[in-house]
Symmetry: C2
Subunit: 162 residues, 2 copies
């Protein structure tokens, strides 16, 4: 694998939001309905504010030549199991279509793993859509074990009155 | 399915910890190395304190006849994808061995889903060990779709100096 780009990784800022939205809007497989329509911007702004305010979440961007070309969100979860295991869950991993196969995604995940090690995390976990066999091989090459099945249930949200 | 018990669900308190540890220690498939050895208690106490302090985590117990017979932890995660989706991740689901097949687990998950609906959550997710086909059918009966593969990576923790 040739790495002909040199990404740097840092936490996302509010100014990265338009480029982040474009990354997600370009993802056809995930089918999350993301859009660069300005009418949706307040929803993304609100989500960004929630992530920024959460003590247990970090949103990373990978930058090449001043442009955001990759992203991943990590969530720290402490659970009782495993004598009180501290986990890192990785979500919303994306690399810009024209920047794939350059090792940027692997560096991004390794950046997350470095953060995990620094924080004494024992277990890193993520799920990947069954429609992405390439992604599954990618995670296995990075040392992940496909030991679990990932289940999702979409709810029709009913806003609470409180 | 006969429901011959009538569980109630509430958030766990510190006093539930010994019964919770026993639930996890009895889980042979998960292989998380849980133990009722008193020497490990401080680890569980520390984890419980972290969960209690987290604004994004809730730890539930199911109680029958004054005894903790089931538990699940939920973590709320806001992500940018899906125009700012608010997710609930369910972790560490257990029902005491002698209380299985009584519908308690289904009620516990439905309790989590009720909380999700109250909070306007759009997506509920969990992973289940590939060695638990019964659990997979259980989640599918509850409406979950096995759309993803779940990857785990164990790290040797290195405590950060900062």
């Amino acid at each position: 694998m040739t790495i002909d780009t040199d990404p740097t990784f840092r936490q996302a800022t509010r100014d990265d939001l338009p480029e982040l939205i474009r990354l997600f809007a370009d993802d056809s497989i995930g089918g999350h309905g993301d859009t660069t329509d300005p009418a949706a911007l307040p929803l993304y702004e609100s989500a960004f504010a929630a992530i920024e305010a959460s003590p247990n979440d970090l949103l990373f961007v990978g930058v090449v030549g001043g442009e955001v070309v990759a992203t991943a969100q990590v969530t720290f979860i402490t659970s009782l199991t495993g004598r009180g295991t501290r986990r890192m869950a990785i979500e919303a991993v994306q690399t810009r279509a024209d920047m794939r196969c350059k090792g940027i995604g692997a560096r991004l995940i390794n950046h997350c793993l470095d953060i995990a090690r620094q924080r004494g995390i024992a277990l890193v976990q993520l799920t990947s859509n069954a429609k992405r066999p390439d992604a599954h091989r990618f995670y296995e090459r990075l040392g992940f074990e496909k030991s679990h099945a990932g289940f999702k249930l979409r709810l029709e949200p009913v806003r609470a009155s409180t």
